[in-house]
Symmetry: C2
Amino acid sequence: MALEHAILVSLLEKPGSGYELARRFERSIGYFWNATHQQIYRVLKRMESDGWVDVREVPQQARPDKKEYSVAAAGRAALRGWLNEPIEPESVRHDLAVKIRGAAFDEPAALISEVERHHQAHTDRLAHYLAGERRDFTGPESPGPPDPGRELQHVVLRGGIAYERMMLAWLDDVLATLHRLAADR
Amino acid sequence: MALEHAILVSLLEKPGSGYELARRFERSIGYFWNATHQQIYRVLKRMESDGWVDVREVPQQARPDKKEYSVAAAGRAALRGWLNEPIEPESVRHDLAVKIRGAAFDEPAALISEVERHHQAHTDRLAHYLAGERRDFTGPESPGPPDPGRELQHVVLRGGIAYERMMLAWLDDVLATLHRLAADR
DNA sequence: TCCTTCTATGCAACTCGTTGCATAGACAAG
DNA sequence: CTTGTCTATGCAACGAGTTGCATAGAAGGA
């Protein structure tokens, strides 16, 4: 499994509590790796008992105290080990593709509104990515050598942008096909 | 869950045994929905006891007998119900993206060969898709009204092709970034 | 001849992931 | 003044998914 590795990367970028991690997974990271707070709390506990992360109790006012996690030496080593292992091409689960093929056995036109919903969701996500890119990756280039972390975050974001653009083009194709089939009867 | 729906669609396209389904999931369907034979056998059994599929024992020579499954009326109804429910935007798990961001905390150049492996895998998959498209979706248009099933299979395949092309372009971008970072030290 | 591969199904044990629920103080809106 | 939302953590139960192993005959290659 690799949720622990995703957590390690996120904590290396910035230490935080389980709750904060869950929010990051909902936002930026969650677009290419998702997890619920339950999973995160359980895995954090295991990582703690394995010595991969250190915990620090942070008292707060006007809100519950939190436990801030940061990566320990053993965690860094574990991450390094994982980085040097080959990984499999990811396993995909495209519900929508299954539905589209399934629509042949029902009413294809009924899918149109569903596909439009997805189109809207991807439009929103693309806008969100582009706003993030403008915010974090434009402006004058900083002097001196480039920051590898920044460069790598940017190339991952460009991947997200490319993915959303591809999806939007494909969903247009799907919609055109569905409309054509609806007209043909 | 939607594995049962993927199985229903596959069985509607063509009845078959658990073993055959597993092979389909390895090949065509598995590119946007994967499952092991264990999962498939277990789910088939449940679907059978729910009356979603019918079984027929098919004796064979020179190989073990098989159970051929086909979709029953209740299965068709279940699929229709699912098709009319909205689904969530799919949950993604891009290990490679996690690795790329993680590489900032180790040696970015070490990822180059890994990314090249993925590039090769996606090149192969694209070639496989394109061969399938040439085989099944070119040639003279059949007379009469178009077959919705065929059209929908084609649009899903076009999605796979678009995905692989996008990935290849992005992986080129990733490689260029990694080489740039390696040169900068 | 032995070893592997292919067809075909399945059990058992385990880990991963999801869902529902619980606590509890602070704060804002109706 | 009650209801809902936000922060923050967690248990318990269940369902989904993975891994290892087992059987067993036929066919093909080292």
